[in-house]
Amino acid sequence: MKPFLQKLLRSNEFYLLLVILVVAAVIEVRSGQFFTANNIVNLANAMVVPGLFAVGTYMVLVSGGIDVSFPALASLAVYAVTSALVDNSWAGGLWLPFLLVVALGAILGAFNGAFAARLAVPTLIITLGTANVFKGIMQGALGSVQIPTLPPSMAEFGRANLFVATNPTSGLTSSMPVSFLLLVAVVAVAFFVMRYTMFGRGVYAIGGDEVSAVRAGFKVRRIKFWLYVMAGVIAAIAGLVRTSMMGQMHPTNLLGMEIMVIAAVVLGGTAITGGTGSLTGVMLGTLLIVMVQNSMILIGVPTYWQRVALGVLIIVGTGISAVQLTRRRKRNRIVAA
């Protein structure tokens, strides 16, 4: 029991949870609306896309890399597929768009993977490059424009919901989108892959010490390659979800999300230097960011102050875990810069 408690007190997730509870309490006090069925559902709804992105980002960060190309990748994959299907007025089921998006995501991810596996260059540089290429292809070569009406199956998928939460007092109804299941599924799969496959442990091993991973007999290049393929697929799925739920294809809608997602993942305790991180933390970190972004009005933060608030959150949030780490280093007298 006691070691467990110690472990808990050491864990980043624990402090994160505290912060979340505090923020929730604040929102509740200011608005009395936080712990209402439909607000919870709203948050869940808002979390789907960032959550999906966060899973891929977490896997890449654990391997010691960093990927800033996923929003561009997702936008390109989904735009190409949607416009193609719309041009051919596809009226069939969701399976085709889903399949195509996943395939395209895999191909673009493989593009990242090929570079990351072959070159010893920091992946920030690589993915900065590919991000520009992806964006350029979408907006330049494909000349992307807004697509007002989606193939019916995508639109339905976007509207479909698991259940509808009603707020007894205000009577407001919020629907839990089916895509939330996708998030759950992807998290479950990622959890299994990272914890129960040699591939997943390899990702951790590479993040811990790449040279040792090679010596131990991990196929480091292969692992890296497939890692980025998976990240690409997850990102593409996230893009499909966003587009379907919006009911329209806005090509630039996802661009610029990368840094905030990375912030959420690191907030969740995934080391930006690789090797450590947990999906629990990742989901908590994402939840915190999403919560704050979507509760400014509830808290009553004036529009003009919202960016200040967000900035402070990031600084304080990451600051807490940073201080934790430093403390631990001191305690164990680990010599570090």
């Binding site: 070159l119 900065l128 490059g129 290429v133 964006k135 330049g140 003009y304 919202q306 600084i315």
Partner: protein, 345 residues
């Protein structure tokens, strides 16, 4: 650097050949630049020969060039500064407010004071970044992301989001001036900054120290270097360069606003890595970054000569160039087990 204003290939050639020998990466950038100039001259001789083409570029790139220099010095320590745009806008907004407060009609002292205060604001913002990175030890990429939001946020609060304009004409006149009839003031400011960076990174002990720090923070610590003060000074320097960028933008747009040039955030990072600075710290040369700045400027201005080619190809080309450069650099010298420096965040 004078290449942008005097497109004389002979000069460029000889000037860079000597340089090329010193550094393979610089060589690659020089080759790319020359290729660009040749293409440009071949396809659009009219514009190539027209000095205004080069002058207008020299007016444009100092804005993000100055910010890129700031990002570079931070990256040499293994960090990064994503808040440069935020600092630039915040300091130019405050400068504008000061000008209007002191002397709406404009006066030498008012402008002087405004410039001074802008630089102070930049320095303070940089110090905040430095403290978050060095003392609180937040990974730089997150700390400066947070302060980016913070600085833009403060700017919005100060201005309610709307631009501050109607500045005293003297100020924009000051910047509109052309040194010796040709060199735009913005460009002169940039040259001064480049000289400053060259001096500090190459000729002072501070420069040697931050390269050491970026290479191996632990051994730097054991060598008695004070990483906290070094990092704070680095981000402070970046803050001042960003403030200079802010002052240039204040002149170029004769107004200050919370969200001018937000697209520069990633652009500057792109430039710096293209310039050959290793995000893990410890390596990277000024000349490379300057070449990268010029290359990207010529690319985007060149693209605007072709209405039929969408501006979005710019991203494609930038990304392509970056990937090309790293790919070739890998082929020339590769060490698959190269350990990545992880000490500094």
């Amino acid at each position: 650097m004078t290449t942008t204003t005097t497109p004389d290939k002979q000069g460029i050639g000889t000037r860079f050949l000597s340089l090329a020998r010193t550094d393979a990466h610089v060589t690659r950038l020089v080759v790319i630049l020359l290729a660009l100039l040749v293409m440009f001259a071949a396809i659009r001789p009219g514009n190539f020969a027209n000095s205004y083409t080069w002058i207008s570029m020299a007016v444009s790139f100092p804005e993000f060039g100055l910010m890129a220099l700031g990002v570079m010095v931070c990256m040499v320590t293994g960090g990064i500064d994503l808040s440069v745009v935020g600092i630039a806008n915040l300091s130019s907004i405050i400068a504008a407010m000061v000008m209007l407060a002191l002397a709406p009609g404009g006066s030498g002292t008012a402008i002087g004071a405004a410039i001074a205060i802008a630089l102070v604001v930049g320095a303070l913002a940089g110090i905040l970044n430095g403290i978050l990175v060095a003392v609180v030890k937040i990974p730089a990429i997150l700390a400066t992301l947070g302060t980016l939001e913070l600085f833009i946020g403060i700017s919005i609060v100060l201005t309610a989001g709307s631009p501050i304009s109607g500045l005293p004409p003297e100020y924009s006149a000051l910047m509109a001036a052309r040194l010796g009839g040709v060199l735009p003031m913005q460009f002169v400011v940039f040259l001064v900054a480049v000289a400053l960076v060259a001096l500090i990174m190459g000729r002072t002990t501070f420069g040697t120290k931050i390269y050491m720090l970026g290479t191996n923070a632990t051994s730097a610590k054991f060598s008695g270097l004070n990483s906290v003060s070094l990092l704070i000074r680095t981000y402070l320097f970046s803050g001042i360069l960003s403030a200079m960028a802010g002052l240039v933008m204040l002149a170029n747009y004769n107004s200050a606003k919370a969200d001018y040039g937000v697209v520069y955030t990633l652009l500057t990072v792109l430039i710096v890595v293209l310039g050959g600075v290793n995000p893990n710290g410890g390596s990277g040369r000024l000349i490379g970054v300057v070449l990268a700045i010029v290359i990207l400027q010529i690319l985007s201005s060149g693209l605007n000569l072709f209405p039929e080619i969408s501006n979005f190809y710019r991203d494609l080309i930038w990304g392509g160039v970056l990937l090309l450069v790293i790919a070739t650099s890998e082929i020339t010298a590769r060490n698959p087990f190269k350990r990545k420096q992880k000490e500094v965040s």
